[in-house]
């Protein structure tokens, strides 16, 4: 029997496949494609204290093997999430993780309070490149990462996942700061800051000028960072960035990820998470793996 269970900092998932924040709304749309109960976890769209309209369109540009987005945290606010979206997700037998973003440390703490134990874990988004205040600024300096993690941890009644920005000189330094401040788990990578220009109009394609790069193009950067971080810390790591197949998922887990999230590729193949779960089961069977620990972090150097 194959056991795909994994513990990500106190939260047990039935399997290590999650969906990445912002690529999966609140699950409703993909629930029409497959049973969400098959997923290890759903990470919902980044939430803010108040509703946000996000940035102007166009919010998306295509780049070689990737996309740039500048949604800018459009969301209905945490209250609406709790009242109108969470109950829907709760009908499924899957973990629900709230991704939260604030303008100030206090806002993050308030959101943690409001979420209480109604969700299964909180993912701290301190790395969104698409908002002016807060966002990425929080995530790129060790002391601010330490500060915000420590503060939110005190308000957080469920496992706290800190999501790391790849737009930093030394990702391990940031990871260690988050761990030291009490993070139960780390997730990475958020998007790389990028830009694309339409040479005919001579304007940036994104109305917001810059945006976050995701998709297969970023995978080698993500795998490297997951490898570095998993070696450096003693808490679980959720890997993401360009995963499009079960082979990619295995690659991240060999690099040291305990679980993985599928983001951009949902747009290409709405069934991607399910096909990746199935492929991973097959891989485990073919390789005589009984549990994830039989290959997790088992890269041979």
């Amino acid at each position: 029997m194959i056991n795909m269970e994994v513990d990500i900092g106190g939260l047990k998932l039935k399997n290590p496949i999650m969906t990445a924040s912002g690529t999966y709304g609140f699950g409703r749309e993909y629930s029409e494609y497959y049973d969400l109960s098959k997923l290890g976890a759903v990470v919902v769209k980044g939430l803010t204290l108040k509703p946000r309209e996000g940035n102007k369109a166009p919010r998306i540009a295509e780049t070689p093997a990737g996309i740039l987005n500048s949604v800018g945290l459009q969301n209905p606010g945490i209250e609406v999430f709790l009242q109108q979206e969470l109950p829907f997700l709760r009908k499924y037998n899957t973990a629900v993780i709230a991704n939260i973003a604030g303008n100030t440390v206090e806002e993050y703490c308030q959101m943690a309070d409001k979420l209480g134990t109604s969700i299964d874990a909180i993912e701290l988004n301190i790395s969104c490149p698409n908002v002016k205040e807060g966002g990425v600024a929080f995530g790129t300096k060790c002391d601010s990462v330490y500060g915000i993690t420590k503060a939110v941890k005190q308000h957080c009644k469920v496992p706290l996942i800190v999501k790391l920005s790849p737009n930093v000189t030394d990702i391990t330094e940031i990871a260690l700061a988050a761990e030291e401040a009490g993070a139960d788990c780390l997730s990475l990578i958020n998007t790389l800051l990028g830009m694309s220009i339409d040479i005919n109009t001579r304007r940036p394609i994104l109305a917001n000028v810059v945006g976050g790069l995701s998709g297969p193009a970023v995978k080698p950067v993500a795998v490297r960072m997951v490898y570095q971080v998993a070696k450096a810390v003693n808490i679980p790591v959720i890997g993401m960035g360009g995963i499009s197949s079960w082979q990619d998922a295995i690659e991240f887990m060999l690099a040291g990820a305990d679980a993985v999230a599928i983001g951009t590729y949902n747009f290409v193949n709405p069934n991607a998470p399910i096909e990746i779960i199935e492929g991973m089961v097959q891989y485990m069977e073919n390789n005589g793996c009984k549990s994830l620990s039989d290959f997790k972090g088992k890269i041979e150097i």
Binding site: Y30, S31, I60, A217, F267
Partner: protein, 260 residues
């Protein structure tokens, strides 16, 4: 526990034909009983370009017409970039299709209607015109025209303009609409933004109900990623970002706020 029907999927559909109608404009017919059975005029399909990772994203294309008995779907598309160019090269084999997606045009019973299409914007209007009891068509093109005959079969009257005068009247289709606007209760429009703005203006001035089909760059096509934002005004005057893919692509003109 599963409370929502899990019935949507992306289908791998057989391509029946994929041919150039006129310079750079193609018609593709593919087999999908599911889409043919469910599609409403104004909805779209989301096509995967089969060259791998670039372009990565699917391409949204309106459903032009369906043949429920044969279980086939027709689309018309213009080659404007990498994605549509690659799609035009797939003359046989299969194509990965999500759909039908979005909300179509509301059909208002017993009203006098006009459909106003500009260029490739005529695509979603044909099936609509067939389903309306009283409908005129206003078709505006730059130079090449296509599908005019099909509208002639499904509409009372067809007004045709080309910018260069090579077919129909020379000029803009909105000038034709303006002349006759008082004859209609409802106008449905799809085409370049500048044309739709003009149509909306004409309808507003004459108190004619108007529905527009918006376009925006898309990723998921189903409402999950929020990249396809458009500004929609509520009754109370506030605006919100809505999703072209899921809340639209068809909106009531009086709600639509165009930037610039």
């Amino acid at each position: 526990m599963r409370l929502v029907g899990v019935d949507m999927k992306n289908e791998i559909c057989e391509i029946i034909h994929n041919k150039e109608l006129t310079l750079g404009v193609f018609e593709m017919i593919f087999r999908s009983e599911n889409i043919a059975a469910l599609a409403m005029p104004g909805q779209f399909v989301h096509l995967r370009v089969n060259t791998g990772l670039y372009p990565l994203l699917r391409r949204p294309i309106s459903i032009h017409s369906v043949d429920k008995t044969k279980g086939t779907v027709a689309i018309i598309y213009h080659i404007v970039g990498k994605g549509t160019e690659e799609i035009s090269k797939q003359v046989t084999g299969v194509i990965d299709v999500m759909g039908p997606l979005g909300n179509g045009f509301p059909k208002l019973a017993g009203k006098k209607c006009a459909v106003v299409g500009g260029g490739i914007g005529v695509a979603p209007l044909l099936e609509l015109s067939k389903s309306l009891s009283h409908c005129d068509a206003y078709l505006g093109f730059r130079n090449c025209t296509y599908k005019v005959e099909a509208f002639e079969n499904s509409c009372n009257k067809v007004y045709l303009t080309t910018e260069d005068g090579s077919a129909g009247h020379k000029g803009y289709i909105t000038d034709q609409l303006k002349k006759n606007i008082t004859e209609y209760d409802v106008v449905y429009t799809c085409g370049p933004k500048i044309m739709m703005k003009k149509v909306m203006e004409i309808c507003q001035l004459n108190n004619v109900e108007c529905y527009v089909s918006l376009e925006e760059r898309m990723a998921c096509g189903i409402g999950a990623c929020l990249v396809c934002a458009c500004k929609i005004q509520e009754e109370n005057g506030e605006w919100h970002h809505k999703k072209v893919c899921k809340d639209g692509p068809v909106f009531n003109a009086k709600e639509v706020l165009f930037d610039d």
